[in-house]
Amino acid sequence: MFDFLTHDMLAIIWFFLWCVIWGVYFIVDSFSLGAGLLVPFIATDKAQRMQIQSSVGPFWGGNEVWLILAAGGTFAAFPLVFSKMFTFLYLPMMLLLIGLIARGISIEYLHKDENPQIQKILMWGWFAGSLLISLVLGVAFANFFKGLEIASGGVYIGTLIGLFSPYALIGGVLFVLMSVTSGALWINVKTEGAIAAKAGDLAKKSTLIVLVLALVYLAYSFMGIEGFTTNYSAMPALYLLPVLAVVTAVLAVFFAKKDKIFPAFCSNLLAFLFVVESGLASIYPYMLKSSVSSEYGIDIFEAASSHMTLSVMLGAALVFVPIIIIYQLWAYTLFREKIKETDHVEY
C-alpha cells in the first residue's frame, strides 16, 4: 500500500497527521476541560451543576479518545518518540494519568449518589482532574517547543523542576485559560438561565486575558526560544499560523463582547488550534527537540516506523478519521437543544 510514497514522505505525512490529531484533541477537549475548571466556581446549586454536567456529558468521552488516538498514533507511527516521551516525562505523565482518571470518574459519578459530601468531593475531583490535564499538557507542549534536555546518545538529563521554566509556566497557564474560555462559551451556548449568563460574562473577560497571554506566549516563542524561527525563515508561509492565532483570538474578544457567543466559541477554538500548530511547525523535523544541542534531538525520520506500518496506518486513518468526524458531528446535532435548569437527565 502507498508504494508510490517513499519512507521519508510517509514520515512527513504522519508528522502532519500527528499535528492534526493533537490539534483536534486540544480544541475538542478544551470545552469539556473548561466546564470542569469552572464548575466549582460558577455553579451555585445542584441544578446548575447538572446543567454543566449535561452540557459536556454526551461528548467528553468521545473527545478524550482523540488524546488516546494521539498516544496510540505516536506509538504506531513513531515508537521511539512514544517510548522517549513517556520515559523522559515519567512523573508528569503519571500526573496526567491521575488527572484523566479523576476527571472521567467525577463526571460520570457526580450525581450517582445523593450524599452532598460525595458530590462535593467529585465536583472538586472534576476540577482538579481538568486542571491537571490542561496544565500538564500546556507545560509539556511548551517544553516540546523549547526542547527537552536530551544529551548525547539520547540520554535525558532534565529534572522535574527544570520543566517549569517561565516559558513553560506561561504555556501551562495559557492552556488552562484557553480551556476556561472555551468552557465558559460552551456553557453559554448550551444552557439557559443564570448559569449561561454567568458563563457569558466570564467569557467576555477571559477572551481578553487569553488574547494578551497568547500574544506574550507567541512573542516569547519567536524571540526567546532558540531555533523557533528556523522553519519560519525557511518557509515564511508558516507565519500565517501565528498571525491566524492572533486574529482569531481578537475575533473571540470581539464576538464575545457583541454577545455573538457561537462565533466567539469557534474563534477561541481556532485560536487554540493555531497557537498549538505554530509551536508544532517550529519543531519539524524533530518530534523531541533537544535544548542541549539540536543534533541530539529525535527527528521523525529516525523515529518513524517501517514503510509497511506507516502505510497500513495511513490507510486506516484516511478511511476512519472522516467517518469518526462525521458521527461525532452528528452526535453534536443530536443534542443541540439548550439545557434548562429544570431539565433532569438520569445520568
Binding site: 454526551p58 461528548f59 512514544f82 515519567y90 494519568l97 516506523s305 461525532q328
Partner: protein
C-alpha cells in the same frame, strides 16, 4: 535493576488486573443491554425497558471505571516499558491505534448518546447501544491481536542489528491463530461472568421476595448464557491448551508440571510441583499416557519437559500450575451451578430454593477469580519472555529512577483502591435500590 524490574512488573500486574475487573462485565452487559433496548423498541413491553434501565445503570458505573483504567495501560507501555515500546512499536503500535480508531471512538461517542437520549427516541437509543457493544467487543479484538503477537510472533522480521522487530505482513498479524483462540476464550469467559453477575443479582432479589418480571426474565436469559458458555469454555479451552502447548512448550509443560521430556507421559490426579528441585514433591494416581494424549492427541506423544530449558528460562511453575488448576476446577463448577439453575427454574422451585439462591450470590466473585487465574496462566506462562522467544521481560523495562516507579505505584494503587470501594458501593446501591423495577 532487579528492583526496578520487579516494581515495574508489579505495577503493570496491578493495573492490568484492576482494569480487567471491569472489562468482562462491560463486554457482556453492553450486548445484553443492546438486546433489551432493541426488544423494547420492537414490542414496547415495559419489562424490557426496565431491564435495559436497571442493567444499563450497572453497565454505566462499570464502564466508566473500565474506560479510565484502560488508559493507564497504554501510558505504562511508554513510561515503564519504554525499551519494549521501542523494540515492538512497529508491530504493537498499529493494533493499539486501530483500537482507538475502530473501537474507542464508537464507544466514547455512542455511550454519550445512549445515556442522554430519552426513551422517546428509542430507535436511536437502541442503535447507540449496539454501537457501544460493537465498540467494546471490537476493542478486545485489537488488544488481543497485540497480545497475541507477544504470545506467538508472526508476520514480522527482526532488523539486522536485532534492536527491533518490523511488521512484514499485517494480514498475518490479524489472522494469527493464537489471537482467535484467545479472543473466543476471553469473550466467552466475559459472557459467562456477566451471566453469573446477573444471576447473582437476581438471586438477591428473589431472596428478598422481589419476584418481578424484570428479574425473572433477566434470570432466564442469564442461565441459558451461563450454561452455554460454561460448556463451551472447557471444550474450546482444550483446543486452546493443545495449541498453546505446541507453540509455547514451556507454558504447556508448566500448566501440568511436566519436568522431564518423554513420551507416553501420564497425568497425575494429585500433584504438587516444586521448582526448587525441578520435580514434583508429590505425584499420585497417574493415568498412563493421558498428558501425552491431551497435549499431542496421541497416548504415546512426546512432551518437552521443563528441565530441558536453559538456566534462567524457567517460568514461575507453581503459580502457573495452581492457577491452571483453579481455572479448570471453577470452570467445571460453573456447569453444575448453571445446570442446577436451569433445572430449578424449569421445575418452578427456583424462587424458594434459598440455599441455591445464596449459592448464586456467593458465586459472583468466582468468575472474576477464574478469569484472573486464566490471565495468570497466559501472561505469567510466557515468562521470562515478554515477547515469546524474541524479547525478555528484563530487557523491556524503561530506565527510569526506581523512586519514580515506587512513587507512581503507591499513588496508583491507593487511587485504585478508593475507586474500587466507591464503585462497589455504587453498584451495591444500584442493585439494592433497584429504582424503577417494581
Amino acid at each position: 535493576m532487579i528492583e526496578l524490574l520487579l516494581l515495574s512488573r508489579l505495577q503493570f500486574a496491578i493495573t492490568a488486573a484492576f482494569h480487567f475487573i471491569f472489562v468482562p462485565l462491560t463486554l457482556g452487559l453492553a450486548l445484553l443491554v443492546a438486546v433489551m433496548e432493541t426488544m423494547y423498541y420492537r414490542n414496547k413491553d415495559e419489562t424490557w425497558r426496565k431491564m435495559a434501565d436497571f442493567w444499563g445503570n450497572i453497565f454505566k458505573i462499570n464502564f466508566a471505571i473500565g474506560l479510565v483504567s484502560g488508559i493507564t495501560l497504554t501510558f505504562q507501555l511508554g513510561t515503564n516499558w519504554g525499551a519494549y515500546a521501542e523494540f515492538m512499536g512497529d508491530v504493537f503500535g498499529p493494533p493499539l491505534a486501530m483500537e482507538a480508531l475502530f473501537a474507542f471512538f464508537l464507544e466514547g461517542t455512542f455511550l454519550g448518546a445512549w445515556i442522554f437520549l430519552g426513551h422517546n427516541r428509542q430507535k436511536l437509543k437502541a442503535f447507540s447501544m449496539w454501537m457501544v457493544a460493537l465498540g467494546t467487543n471490537i476493542s478486545s479484538l485489537w488488544i488481543i491481536t497485540a497480545n497475541g503477537f507477544m504470545q506467538h510472533p508472526v508476520g514480522y522480521e527482526m532488523v539486522a542489528d536485532g534492536s527491533k522487530v518490523v511488521m512484514t505482513d499485517f494480514i498475518a498479524l490479524i489472522t494469527n491463530g493464537y489471537v482467535w483462540y484467545m479472543l473466543i476464550h476471553t469473550l466467552l469467559a466475559a459472557y459467562l461472568l456477566t451471566s453469573f453477575v446477573i444471576m447473582g443479582i437476581c438471586a438477591y432479589h428473589f431472596l428478598k421476595g422481589n419476584n418481578n418480571e424484570v428479574f425473572k426474565k433477566s434470570f432466564s436469559i442469564a442461565v441459558i448464557i451461563a450454561l452455554a458458555t460454561a460448556v463451551m469454555l472447557p471444550v474450546l479451552g482444550h483446543g486452546y491448551a493443545q495449541y498453546v502447548a505446541a507453540l509455547q512448550p514451556t507454558k504447556g509443560a508448566a500448566m501440568d508440571a511436566i519436568w522431564e521430556t518423554g513420551s507416553s507421559v501420564p497425568m497425575y490426579l494429585i500433584q504438587v510441583p516444586d521448582s526448587s528441585t525441578g520435580s514434583n514433591s508429590i505425584q499420585l494416581l497417574g493415568i498412563p499416557g493421558l498428558a501425552s494424549f491431551l497435549y499431542t492427541g496421541s497416548f504415546s506423544g512426546t512432551i518437552t519437559g521443563l528441565n530441558q530449558l536453559p538456566q534462567g528460562e524457567l517460568p514461575p511453575v507453581e503459580m502457573i500450575f495452581w492457577s491452571f488448576r483453579l481455572m479448570t476446577i471453577l470452570g467445571s463448577l460453573f456447569i453444575i451451578v448453571a445446570l442446577l439453575g436451569l433445572y430449578l427454574q424449569k421445575s418452578g422451585k427456583l424462587y424458594t430454593s434459598k440455599k441455591y439462591l445464596k449459592l448464586l450470590i456467593w458465586s459472583i466473585p468466582l468468575p472474576y477469580i477464574t478469569i484472573t487465574a486464566g490471565w495468570i496462566v497466559a501472561e505469567v506462562g510466557r515468562q521470562p519472555w515478554m515477547v515469546y522467544g524474541l524479547l525478555k521481560t528484563a530487557n523491556g523495562v524503561s530506565s527510569v529512577p526506581t523512586s519514580d516507579v515506587l512513587l507512581s505505584i503507591s499513588l496508583i494503587s491507593t487511587f485504585y483502591m478508593v475507586l474500587l470501594i466507591f464503585e462497589v458501593y455504587l453498584i451495591k446501591k444500584t442493585v439494592v435500590n433497584a429504582t424503577g423495577v417494581e
